[in-house]
């Protein structure tokens, strides 16, 4: 697709002139063009490529020439690729600006004027060192590529599992969240008994079963004091309400017995 099928099909329009042939100094076989364009990691990478290709020193870029080559590339990229990163155009503008500043008359000798290329050179250098570092990283021995971890099997290795820890905070946080969710559904109005009653309900259920009767009074532990007795009583009432236990009294004033609902 990048190869020119007909001479009249220009690759690009550079500064008003149609480019029908790839510039000689691009050194790119036409069918490889797109692949190559895609290998550039951005405008800095392209610039470095142009500079290095001509064995030029970053510190001494012939800005006019490099700008011309850069523009050619950018125009070609515009033609063959639908999307061109905006950064390429920003760079093109920057190059044009540097070029024009360098055309201005030289400032007087005693005036220290920064080379207009300075900022660009710094960026290029900065980028280049990381580009090299990236190459250096890739050249390192990597696990799974040059080096492999020794790991031997141990069949009958008893696995001792350690259970994850959970903090009370995590538990409460989970509960808060679920309650918030539940609150969004009105019809799921969740009633919460005092926790002490809830706990006592569990304890009572553990003590009773469906087969044998347990004395009602034995559920109470007087050493818990008044509050404990009340909690137990509420728990029994709650269990009754939820039909989890039955109370049996054979005759008035006879002992009351409790058993789980079968």
């Amino acid at each position: 697709m990048s190869a020119p099928q007909q001479d009249e099909m220009p690759f690009a329009i550079v500064q008003g002139a149609a480019v029908t042939e790839l510039p000689h100094d691009l050194y790119i076989p036409p069918d490889a063009l797109e692949v190559i364009l895609e290998t550039f990691e951005g405008p800095l990478d392209l610039l470095l490529y142009l500079i290095r290709k001509q064995n030029l020193d970053i510190l001494d870029i012939p800005i006019a020439e490099i700008t011309r080559q850069y523009m050619t590339y950018v125009e070609i990229m515009k033609q063959v690729r639908l999307e061109l990163a905006a950064e390429y155009l920003v760079m093109a503008a920057m190059l044009a600006e540097i070029k024009s500043r360098m055309l201005l008359p030289r400032p007087s000798e005693d005036e220290e004027e920064d080379d207009p290329r300075a900022a660009l050179v710094r960026r290029l250098q900065e980028y280049e060192r990381y580009r090299e570092a990236a190459q250096g990283l890739d050249d390192r021995p990597q696990v799974g590529r040059e080096i492999h971890l020794a790991v031997i099997e141990c069949d009958d290795r008893p696995v001792r599992r350690i259970e994850p820890n959970v903090t009370l905070f995590e538990l409460l946080d989970a509960f808060r969240e679920v309650m918030q969710r539940a609150a969004m559904y009105r019809h799921h109005r969740v009633m919460l008994e005092p926790l002490s009653v809830r706990e006592r309900m569990t304890q009572i259920l553990e003590r009773i079963n469906a087969e044998t009767f347990v004395g009602f009074q034995s559920l109470f532990n007087v050493t818990e004091g008044r509050m404990g007795v009340v909690v137990t009583f509420m728990a029994v009432l709650e269990l009754l309400k939820e039909s989890l236990l039955t109370l049996v009294q054979n005759e008035p004033f006879a002992p009351i017995y409790v058993k789980a609902v079968a």
Binding site: P158, L172, F175, R198, T202
Partner: protein, 206 residues
């Protein structure tokens, strides 16, 4: 017996130690390029030398059917076992929510938990909580299907360093969890009894 080439032996050693499965002699031969294939006898000789090199080490070379592999010496099994003690996985949010609902709503059936959470509770979660001995079945509800009722255990209280359930903050306070967390964190580590907090007021109803 051909003399053993050190490079050959090293390559065989490295291959066996990274393969993760027994390697046959043929497989070991195949690691070499066409133009420098060792003979099967040479590989066998390398294996024999390796076997004696590791004669008194922490691992040993074993022949398994037609393959060879390194394995740990059995008598070090106890030490090695402790290696795998780590890496506890984290519990899922679903599990924590289920546990929290059981704590606050006990005795409660799985169906009721699902109703509150708005989503199903997997059998896996219930099993994990039972296995951890944080919850137990305390009865069944007298409705069709007779679903199990779950409640928390002594182990639950111990893990969360609670003397009893009413040490859990009432729901109303949960809304201000950030303030609460500061206090709670203060209570950890678990060994210490909770700073004698006054019994919280009876929880509000929602």
């Amino acid at each position: 017996m051909p003399k053993v080439n050190t490079e050959l032996k090293n390559i065989v050693e490295a291959a066996l130690l990274v393969a993760g499965q027994p390697l046959t002699i043929d497989k070991l031969v195949s690691l070499f390029p066409e133009d420098s294939l060792p003979t099967r006898d040479e590989v066998k000789a390398a294996l024999q030398e390796l076997e004696s090199d590791y004669g008194a080490r922490g691992i040993e070379l074993k022949k398994i059917e037609h393959g060879y592999r390194f394995q740990t010496r059995e008598r070090y099994a106890n030490w090695i076992a402790r290696l795998s003690e780590e890496r506890p996985v984290r519990y899922s949010r679903a599990l924590l929510e289920t546990l929290a609902i059981i704590a606050y709503r006990q005795p409660v059936t799985r169906g009721e938990i699902e109703e509150i959470r708005g989503v199903g509770v997997s059998t896996e979660i219930v099993k994990t909580l039972l296995g951890r001995e944080w919850i137990k079945q305390v009865g069944t509800r007298d409705v069709p299907g007779r679903p199990a009722l779950f409640g928390t255990t002594r182990g639950f209280l111990e893990h969360f360093n609670l003397e009893n359930l009413s040490d859990l903050p009432p729901l109303a306070e949960l809304r201000d969890i950030d303030k609460l967390s500061a206090e709670l964190n203060y209570q950890l580590p678990m060994d210490e009894p909770p700073a004698a907090a006054p019994a919280p007021p009876l929880p509000d109803r929602e």
